[in-house]
């Protein structure tokens, strides 16, 4: 299994499929009048546009790291590796940003090159490692969304549309899941499934759909009262047609806003899980691992702060942009509130 998912062709296919899916949803939405009006409002929103561009850049860099090409030695390497190959020398161990020699060596050891953000314990360039960390955020965020969005949307639509028994069952399931402290549920699931990015995404997906389901359920209940649903029913459309053709397009903007917020939540969660020992596997270039490593580096003498600072700054800018993007989307779709 692991070999199959690590093969460069599989990775590339999954990545392309993910982006295609995102494009398809946006393409479908672009035909709806509500979305077109929202886009016009969104374009006038400077903060929203800037954060959209920043998030897009992160996704692009992440995709460059996820997409692999064979390296001719039976393995594979990422496009980021290809871009930096031979340009950035690696050192023996820590060196400060823009330093000319290694940190804390008894005899001054000159570096092979300058490093904008310094180097880490293994002598790798921190800037390159930080850029590579985008891929972990992209993988976990993408896979988690692929799990929890269909699950939460469908469950919410069904609970809100059919009500009665269906609603009771779905409500019972999500109340039970919500009652368990999320972090403990995450840890338990990861302990069962073993460590790994995919497993982490499954755990985050299984625990994350509750909020979305609750939101969609409420909105579906409100929409079901509207005349267009009644008209569709009077025309003899099946339940499935009403849900997929009429209700889904009318709650889809909530799904998109929630997905953007969910992405930021997942990136934050990855940082915490790293500290609890159930985060990204060792050796994965992830901000969570870098921040966790920074914990011990801050008590070294001389202080090593650049590893933590670079990872935390990269994470902060991404999460901030996602939060601002979600705000702008909400304003664009629902200008009366806020």
């Amino acid at each position: 299994m692991g070999d199959f998912f690590n093969h460069w062709l599989t990775r590339n296919c999954i990545t392309l499929f993910g982006f295609a899916l995102l494009g398809w949803v946006l393409w479908n939405g672009s035909h709806h009048e509500r979305w077109q009006r929202a886009w016009q409002r969104f374009r006038a929103d400077r903060a929203g546009m800037i954060s959209l561009v920043i998030v897009g850049m992160y996704l692009f860099i992440g995709a460059l790291e996820v997409i692999r090409v064979p390296d001719g030695k039976g393995g594979n390497r990422s496009l980021v590796d290809v871009a930096f190959a031979g340009r950035i020398p690696s050192e023996k161990t820590y060196s400060a940003p823009m330093a000319t020699q290694l940190l804390s060596s008894v005899t001054p050891t000159p570096l092979a090159g300058r490093h904008l953000f310094g180097t880490d314990a293994l002598g790798k360039d921190v800037l390159v490692e930080t850029l590579k960390g985008c891929s972990t955020a992209l993988i976990i965020g993408g896979l988690t969304s692929a799990i929890y969005i269909p699950l939460g949307t469908l469950a919410g639509l069904m609970a809100g549309y059919f009500r009665r028994r269906v609603d009771d069952v779905i409500q019972y399931i999500y109340s039970t899941l919500a009652a368990i402290p999320q972090i403990l549920l995450l840890i338990a699931i990861i302990m069962v499934l073993d460590k790994g990015l995919g497993q982490m995404a499954v755990a985050l997906g299984v625990t994350g759909w509750v909020g979305l389901c609750r939101l969609i359920r409420g909105e579906t209940m409100r929409q079901s009262e509207r005349t267009y649903v009644m008209a569709a029913r009077a025309l003899g459309q099946s339940h499935w047609q009403i849900i997929s053709r009429h209700l889904l397009p009318n709650v889809m903007h909530l799904v998109i806003i929630n997905a953007v917020l969910g992405f930021s939540g997942v990136v934050l969660a990855e940082a915490t899980l790293g500290y609890l020992g159930v985060g990204s596997p060792v050796g994965t270039p992830s901000w969570g691992n870098m921040i966790d490593g920074g914990r011990s580096e801050l008590s070294r003498d001389p202080l090593v702060w650049w590893n933590l600072a670079a990872a935390a700054a990269a994470l902060f800018v991404l999460v901030l942009s996602l939060n601002l993007l979600a705000d702008s989307l909400r304003r664009a779709f629902d200008p009366k509130r806020s």
Binding site: Y172, T176, P181, L184, A188, I291, L298, S299, N323
Partner: protein, 313 residues
């Protein structure tokens, strides 16, 4: 009121049962007894030690029997003994309660008061440049992982400048506060961004209502309208938001206690996770669920107090 509370307690029973089933399936049903024993004893533990461990803790029994034992333990509120220390879990939890409450309760209250003040001020200067800047700061506060707050505060304030002890906790009368300031401060700041934004949204919605215009028109001062009218009417939404956060405090105190070496519930849970001490983790899941259901009920009861129009029936 009483019958309402009783009915809610009855509703809670199936959810608690569901929580117990999920916990049991995740911790026992889906993990092989060998894996569980190895997590607790270490990967290189000899076979006979593993076998003895499994026999001692009934891990070799059939699953339904194990589940029965587990249910019996929970029903009598006896969570058994820790696999690591051999001490009764209930006793260690009670011992850890005081430090945890000393951190979470002041942290929670400080955070809410700060967020209320911030939101009221923002509504006071609404749609101005200051308001927008403060909203941006709130979003910024939300975008920093808790763990970064803790690492950076500990490294700068405690290790570099020695303002506060970086680690440890002792009961020493007033001096206890020295150990508490940093954890409490961090806990208050962690939720400040989110709470501030939510409260602001609540107040903004209230301020657009007709009764506010009436009050302003009849000459009530701006400050009075905010504190008397707007805050009172926004209370319901604020109660939902804040009480709903109670269970999430577990998470916050888990990180903070383990970082600052405070011997509370969060720290015990953190150690249990690290050492594969399953009974402790399972007991924490149950307590967390209880707390969640309690918070839900508390929300409804507080509703009725905040708004006389709501009748609990």
């Amino acid at each position: 009121m009483l019958s309402y509370i009783l009915r809610r307690l009855l509703y809670a029973v199936p959810i608690l049962l569901g929580v117990l089933v999920i916990t049991f399936v995740l911790f026992r049903g889906l993990q092989k007894p060998d894996t569980i024993a190895k997590l607790a004893l270490g990967q290189k533990a000899p076979t006979h030690a593993l076998a003895a461990f499994k026999a001692k803790h009934h891990l070799d029994r059939p699953l339904p029997e194990q589940f029965g034992l587990y249910l019996k333990g929970v029903a009598t509120l006896d969570f058994g003994e820790s696999w690591k220390t051999g001490r009764s879990i209930s006793e260690t939890f009670i011992a850890g309660l005081a430090p945890t409450l000393l951190i979470t309760v002041p942290g929670f209250i400080c955070g809410i008061i700060a967020a209320l003040g911030l939101a009221l001020y923002q509504v006071f200067v609404r749609h101005s440049r200051v308001d927008r800047a403060m909203t941006l700061v709130c979003v910024g506060l939300m975008s920093v992982p808790t763990i970064v707050y803790i690492i950076v505060c500990q490294a700068i304030l405690a290790l570099q400048f020695n303002y506060f002890p970086a680690f440890g906790f002792e009961f020493r009368g007033l001096e206890t506060a020295k150990f508490l300031i940093l954890p409490v401060g961090i806990l208050a700041v962690v939720n400040l961004g989110y709470d501030g934004r939510m409260f602001r949204a609540v107040f903004l919605e209230e301020i657009a209502q007709d009764y506010v215009r009436t009050a302003l028109a009849k000459g009530v001062g701006n400050m009075q309208v905010l504190t008397r009218h707007v805050m009172k009417n926004g209370l319901i939404a604020i109660i939902t938001l804040t009480v709903g956060q109670l269970p999430a405090l577990i998470m916050g105190s888990l990180l903070i206690e383990s970082f600052f070496g405070i011997p509370g519930l969060g720290n015990q849970l953190f150690l249990a996770i690290q050492q594969g001490d399953q009974p402790v983790v399972m007991a924490c899941v149950f307590l967390g669920a209880l707390l969640y259901l309690f918070a839900l009920m508390l929300t409804d009861v507080l509703y009725a107090f905040a708004d006389p129009r709501i009748r609990l029936s």
